[in-house]
Amino acid sequence: MRKIRTLLCCALLIGACASPPPQNNQQDKQAELVAVPPEPLNPYPSTYRAGTATTTLIRGATVLTGTGARLDNADVLIANGKIEAVGPNLSAPAGARVIDASGRWVTPGLIDVHSHLGVYPSPGVNAHSDGNEATDPVTANVWSEHGIWPQDPGFQTALEGGITSLQILPGSANLIGGRAVTLKNVPATTYQAMKFPNAPQGLKMACGENPKRVYGGQMRAPSTRMGNVAGYRQAFADAQDYREQWRKYERDVAEYQKKGAEKKDKKDSEEADEPPVPPKRDLKLETLAGAMNGDIRVHIHCYRSDEMAIMVDLSKEFGFKISAFHHAIEAYKIADLLAANGVCGAEWADWWGSKMEMFDGIQENIALTDLPQGGCAIVHSDSDEGIQRLNQEAGKAMSRGNRVGLNIAPERAIRWLTANPARALGIDQFTGTLEQGKMADVVIWNGTPFSVYALAEQVFVDGQLEFDRANPSPQPRSDFLLGQPGAGAQP
């Protein structure tokens, strides 16, 4: 995986990877070559900076680590914004803030892999409708991050529900809707200041009814599921071709540089050859090539088991990996297939039926997705309400699983909204579990988080206390809510 990524990164970033500094009369032309990377590494870089976090010792809690362990009466030590230690009877470093968490439960910060906060914010006025570039079935060139309104009050209410990281996706009107971004859930005036450092981008794709309804209604393709699949295939075939053009260019450059070096050795004074001309950048195909490279994680809105199986074949045809099926109402019918292919199912606990492709929803879906060896279930929201209580959604899913004898313990269920979404987003090396060295994204709950009465009391992001229920007055609120009489979701 990592190898593939590196390899193809070089193919695309020929300039950045290119050989020794050019010299002599080659210099100008070589410099031009260096100056045309097809995609700068990070044109919209994260400016997120973790605050200077107080060293904090959380004492005497029931700790669900997200690794599958439950520690009773355990402590969590946070230092320099990272998890320093988890275990019994940790001693408080000098000057540490000590929080008595007896009777409380502590979990990793929750992660939602499916949110449209900021691109479909509150209030939901026309001017804020920035989540679907529904003008073409393939808009792999658009990035959700360029539509995010950081003042969406929903970010704060999600934080109050324990959400510390979230992926903002384009909507599902299109076959290929564009790139998704992962954010840290901190208040900011720009999205760059929320952008999760070093998190890979996502690619949003959509199966089924939505694209064919949107475009079929305009007498355009796709109007059928056949058209949907043809649309993905043509797009990826174009991207393969595009990738080949860049690979050829890479070879030409190498050849050109080799020739240049030979001429230099021979002290040849004849005129240099014209350098190879790079292919024209195509932002759509660049994104799809990135998905095939593994640089961009593929997230597919897909409900029916038969369609998910088609998408797995599609991914093999074009050599990309599907990170997760989102919504995946029928994942329980093909849980083994998903597990065998390392694909997560990101699902609701109980929503169903508003479309034909949602007609077979069952409340045991999440538990059954998680059941096979290697199964990866995720509780997701796709909702500014649901994201505020992913813990309750998990409680519903866990209890329904247990009601049919699956014996799911809280320490397993917590993975559905911490470690598993971190894995799907490719941020599991940074967050999602309470392990030494991970970001100190931590929630202290007033009791078991899998309860309708559960409330996040304190939420830490990189060790920084971002929400404190006992002291709500200084909590950041969206600019939008200022001066609005009576406004402001009360924690």
Binding site: S122, P123, G124, V125, P153, G154, T157, E209, R213, S305, Y332, K333, I334, A335, D336, L337, D350, W351, W352, G353, S354, K355, M356, F359, D360, G361, I362, Q363, E364, L368, D384, E385, Q388, R389, Q392, G395, K396, M398, S399, R400, R403, V404, F450, S451, V452, Y453, A454, L455, F480, L481, Q484, P485, G486, A487, G488, A489, Q490, P491
Partner: protein, 415 residues
């Protein structure tokens, strides 16, 4: 009226099959004067609750159920919904909640005589899905959709036991949706909504009116006239200023108003309490989804209850997952509503609002035996209904979803 009741009872009798059930040793949430009774018994006979107490003796013909201390509550209210009225929301041939006349604004037509209960299908798969989760009744609410009218028509409560004649007598109501979301149905202004309502009332009061631009047909005038004589009108409205206007309007024209939505109801809680206007609300609504609901907050329910306003829980535009209404109640408790008030807002309070409290909403002698036995705290998301009774009959605890579950739980995926 009397005749209607008789017919309804006849319908009951054939279904109820005169079963006698003694539920023993339950934690009985009466939602009435008796509060919560521990280790109590409930006797069901002829579809009604015949006795509530401890140490009741089982009649010879009784089936006994040992509750083992589990919670027993009245059957829950499924909220305003389209259960049995829409099967798949996005499939027009299965979705019957509203009518769309597509009349241009200058020749607007209203059809308040539209009664959505005529579309009710008791054999809908949504009915068992709701029922096995403890929802025993719902109020079918007509919808205002784009191209339709903000006076959506009439709806009524139905029992979810699967009978054809499911409408509960006395619950019929008119539904009117106001505010910014309805601007497209009132020529672009919410003020136009009041203008048009005034016009409709004038037409109703002068039944011989002749004008090519009448809003109402004779049948519509007749329907509206009933509500002007003390009928129940459910106003979908969020903004505090408009809630006050509804109160004044209803008072002026003799309607019995109910607020549905009421994101900013807490702002005018004292007026609602004084005028005895109840509120149907979604306790999870805490974001300013529109400029009508800027003041939305999670303790809306608690604030209203504290002020003495009658509240009941509902979701909006959610029929398939109507069962989530329990979660609303639990969250309201987490944000300050007393637990007993939350359960009441799922049982006796909606029954009161829809004129059914004489028969439903409590566990008391003489009430219809709509009951739910829970495996835990009835408001908790991790709890489920172990057994449901409607009109004294045990509900088969199966639905299309349990059938799907069982098929695939047993490894039938045939990959």
């Amino acid at each position: 009226m009397r005749k209607l009741i008789a017919i309804a009872l006849l319908g009951c009798a054939t279904l109820a099959n005169a079963q006698t059930v003694l539920i023993r040793g339950a934690t009985v949430h009466t939602v009435g004067e008796q509060g919560v009774l521990t280790n109590a018994d409930v006797l069901i006979r002829d579809g009604k609750i015949a006795a509530v107490g401890s140490g009741l003796s089982a009649p010879a013909d009784a089936t006994t159920v040992d509750a083992k201390g589990r919670a027993l509550t009245p059957g829950l209210f499924g909220g305003l919904s389209a259960i049995g009225v829409e099967e798949v929301s996005l499939e027009p041939t299965t979705a019957d909640a509203g009518i769309i006349l597509n009349a241009p604004p200058f020749e607007m037509q209203w059809r308040p005589e539209f009664d959505v209960t005529a579309a009710y299908n008791p054999r809908s798969v949504l009915v068992p899905v709701a029922r096995v989760e403890g929802l025993t009744w719902t109020v079918l609410a007509p919808a205002s959709a784009e191209g339709g009218t903000f006076v959506a028509g009439q709806g009524a409560a139905v029992t979810l036991d699967g009978r054809y004649d499911a409408v509960l007598t006395g619950s019929r109501s008119l539904f009117i949706n106001l505010g910014g979301n309805a601007n497209g149905m009132s020529a672009g202004s919410r003020a136009g909504q009041w203008m048009l309502l005034d016009q409709a009332i004038r037409e109703t009061r002068s039944p011989n009116a002749q004008d090519e631009h009448l809003l109402l047909h004779p049948a519509g005038r007749e329907a509206l006239a009933k509500y002007l004589a003390g009928g129940r009108v459910v106003f979908g409205v969020a903004r505090a200023a408009e809630i006050r206007r509804v109160i004044a309007f209803a008072k002026r024209y003799g309607m019995k108003p109910v607020i549905a939505g009421g994101a900013e109801a807490w702002v005018v809680a004292d007026e609602l309490a004084r005028e005895k206007v109840p509120v149907l609300l979604d306790a999870l609504e805490n974001l300013p989804y529109s400029f009508d609901g800027i003041g939305a907050r999670l303790d809306n329910a608690a604030l209203l209850q504290r002020a003495g306003v009658r509240i009941a829980f509902t979701q909006f535009n959610e029929s398939h997952n109507a069962r989530k209404v329990r979660q609303l109640a639990g969250n309201a408790v987490a944000h300050g509503l007393p637990k007993d008030a939350a359960l009441a807002a799922l049982t006796v309070q909606p029954a009161e609002i829809f004129g059914l409290a004489g028969e439903r909403g409590r566990i008391a002698r003489g009430q219809v035996a709509d009951l739910v036995l829970w495996n835990g705290d009835p408001l908790e998301v991790t709890s489920a209904a172990d057994q449901v009774w409607i009109a004294g009959r045990p509900v088969e605890m199966r639905s299309r979803q349990t059938e799907l579950r069982e098929r695939y739980l047993n490894g039938c995926s045939r990959l």
